[in-house]
Subunit: 76 residues, 2 copies
């Protein structure tokens, strides 16, 4: 059975969950966080929903902007 839809990796979902948790810890809306970190709101929203197949470098950059180690975003 050929899988035609986009396969969302577990890692993508984990990064999304951890980003959302971190944002909530900071008490920020997606918009406020995006502004603070210099990202676009819709981009952060799609990362949170696990829709973005980020590269290792962009995960690391996101973590750096959040002031957390990259591994913090990669494990529950």
């Amino acid at each position: 059975m050929h899988h035609s839809g986009r396969v969302t990796s577990e890692l993508q979902k984990t990064v999304g969950r951890r980003l959302r948790e971190r944002r909530r810890e900071l008490g920020l809306s997606q918009e406020a966080m995006a502004e603070q970190l210099g990202y676009h709101r819709t981009f952060l929203g799609s990362v949170e929903r696990g829709e973005r197949n980020l590269t290792l470098a962009s995960v690391e950059q996101l973590a750096t902007s959040l002031g957390v180690p990259a591994l913090d975003l990669l494990r529950d």
Copy 2:
């Protein structure tokens, strides 16, 4: 100072080190491992050297083909 060279993320280097360690544990050459996993030898070599800015999904796929959890490749 504008950094013109490609920035290699720490995560890329970690994945490279862990892949190489795993390959050595299995006692395989890059060529043999590439063949077994269905990757191109030069691709695996570049991943091992930390030259590839892999996506989360491709790290997960690589881990699955190695029979290890993705996190195993993401932390030392």
